[in-house]
């Protein structure tokens, strides 16, 4: 048996499963967005979509929040992952457990915890008042800030776990060697750690970005209808107006965004291999 046929044999079951049980149904639905009222092929639905200011605004907000959440997760993620890898092997497991823990809690409940925390009488505002940062409670709920915080909390663990497994594969002596050669920590990070962990960053980045732009509960509860994102708009179209066609246009846009992010991050990651 050649390698090629072996590969085909190993890949076929999953590929068939995905095509029949997923791709075809989704494809048929998405095609609906490329037809006009009479059923002929057309881009009319997309033109309509972009002609609506609310939709364009929602699209930008989704991109902006997705990017911000990914960047924040990467920064915090590296700090946390480096610290975890740096700790003793026994506490490493405990830390990883602690990072998995929040992922175990239902996003439904976690999002509601933020409602309590960020409210006018919540802990965050109590601190703001005590520290004299403001004379009166800040309105955080139902703003982009609230959605941002909720999304970072939701997806940061994915980034940390990806980065930890990437960092663990670093030869243990490279950073030490670089330090010995007189490089600053920033140099070590930018010239040694970052290039060698790009793949982990790419995997984590795609998970976080895609997760953030397609999250439903967090923007729905923390942003409310004043901070619409594409996914909340999509749900509104399907479940209230039963407008499957506009929903499929939004879905297509989200898919394109995810693939674009994926391609971008992959390109960054593959620099190492080339």
């Amino acid at each position: 048996m050649t390698d090629r046929s072996r590969a085909a044999l190993l890949i076929a079951p999953a590929a068939l499963f995905i095509v029949a049980g997923f791709l075809l149904p989704v494809g048929v639905l998405l095609m609906g967005g490329f037809r006009d009222g009479a059923g002929a092929w057309s881009l009319a639905r997309y033109v309509e979509f972009f002609a609506t200011p609310l939709h364009v605004e929602t699209l930008w907000r989704t991109l902006r929040l997705g990017a911000l959440v990914t960047i924040a997760s990467a920064i915090i993620g590296y700090a946390a992952a480096l610290a975890i890898v740096d700790s003793s092997p026994s506490s490493r497991g405990r830390y990883i457990g602690l990072f998995i823990l929040p992922m175990m809690i239902s996003p439904v409940a976690r999002t509601y915890a933020w409602v309590v925390l960020l409210g006018r009488t919540g802990l965050v505002n109590v601190l703001v008042l005590k520290l004299g940062l403001s004379d009166e409670p800040l309105r955080i709920l139902f703003t982009e800030t609230a959605v941002f915080l909720g999304l970072v909390q939701l997806f940061l663990p994915l980034m940390v776990l990806s980065l930890v497994s990437a960092l663990e594969n670093l030869p243990p002596d490279v950073t030490a060697a670089a330090r010995l050669l007189g490089a600053s920590w920033l140099d070590v990070f930018l010239k040694v750690i970052l290039p060698l962990t790009r793949e982990g960053l790419a995997v984590g980045g795609v998970l976080v970005f895609t997760g953030a732009i397609t999250a439903y509960i967090t923007p729905a509860v923390l942003g409310g209808s004043k901070v619409l994102m594409l996914e909340t708009l999509l749900f509104q179209r399907v479940s209230v107006a039963n407008d499957v066609v506009t929903a499929s246009v939004i879905a297509m846009l989200l898919i394109v965004m995810s693939y674009a992010a994926n391609a971008l991050l992959r390109r960054v990651a593959s620099v190492r291999k080339a």
């Binding site: 085909a8 048929v28 740096d86 175990m104 809690i105 509601y112 982990g200 397609t214 989200l254």
Partner: protein, 257 residues
């Protein structure tokens, strides 16, 4: 350096786990709403959870669904990860794009598409539909996490096993699999959690009498806003902690993850 690391970790973990403390406290509250600090302490909301019949059924369904679909996704996804890593077949990028596609399609669309163009035309049952949808959704996780750990495994130990007379499947099961155990376990945990907490996909696929736990919680909260949801979430989280601790004890999770 280590002390800085500890401070960073502490801050990040407070951010991540702090809300959990809120949920725990609210679940033990004696008040009528989610509040922090809680108004009095009682077990009334914890007990209330056990009286809700529908939660019991949906909990069982979610548990079985998460386990079965993660298993199925691993069985389907691991060979793909292996094939892509070892044989680098032509079109590898297209194949992995195909297999990760469930990750990028919004869950609501997946649920709606499967309902309209798969479940209804083929007359598939609700539970089966949920199982299929969750499996499709988890294959990318399984394939990705396993392939990440395969990428770090040296090819030569497997080649050595084959040279020493092991069959290819034998070499896979005896040499490769034990070495990527951490990745498989990580994929399992990730897949399980993803399925267990999945809302959008299940939203359209759950049917009369068949509903997953998060969907049940969401519809409960639509009209009732008492701390029993917090109590339930806290119990679920404690259950998860117990699983992680047991895994740590039995498997030495920390050595592999």
């Amino acid at each position: 350096m280590r002390s800085w690391g500890r401070i960073t970790l502490a801050l990040v973990l407070i951010f991540l786990i702090g809300p959990f403390a809120i949920i725990l406290a609210a679940g033990l509250s004696d008040g009528e709403t989610l509040a922090f600090p809680p108004q009095g302490i009682s077990l009334r909301w914890v007990l209330a959870v056990f009286e809700l019949e529908s939660f019991r059924a949906s909990f069982a369904l979610s548990l079985v669904l998460a386990t079965a679909s993660t298993m199925a996704a691993l069985v389907l996804g691991t060979p793909v990860a292996y094939a892509l890593d070892r044989y680098r077949p032509p079109g590898a990028i297209a194949i992995s794009a195909l297999l990760t596609s469930p990750l990028v399609v919004p869950g609501i669309i997946v649920g709606l598409a499967l309902l309209r163009h798969f479940v209804i035309p083929l007359g598939v049952g609700v539970t089966t539909a949920l199982f299929l949808a969750h499996t499709a959704l988890l294959i990318p996780y399984a394939a990705r996490v396993v392939s990440a750990s395969l990428a770090n495994l040296r090819v030569d130990i497997e080649e050595a096993a084959i040279l020493l007379g092991a069959s290819r499947p034998g070499a896979f099961f005896r040499v490769v699999l034990p070495n990527i155990r951490s990745g498989v376990l990580a994929a399992f945990i990730l897949g399980f959690i993803t399925s267990f907490n999945q809302v959008p996909v299940s939203l359209f696929l759950s049917g009369p009498g068949v509903s997953t736990l998060p969907i049940d919680m969401l519809s409960y909260m639509e009209f009732t806003y008492d701390p029993s949801i917090a109590a339930l979430s806290a119990m679920l989280a404690l259950m998860s902690v117990a699983i992680v601790l047991v895994a740590e004890r039995l498997l030495g999770l920390s050595r592999y993850v």
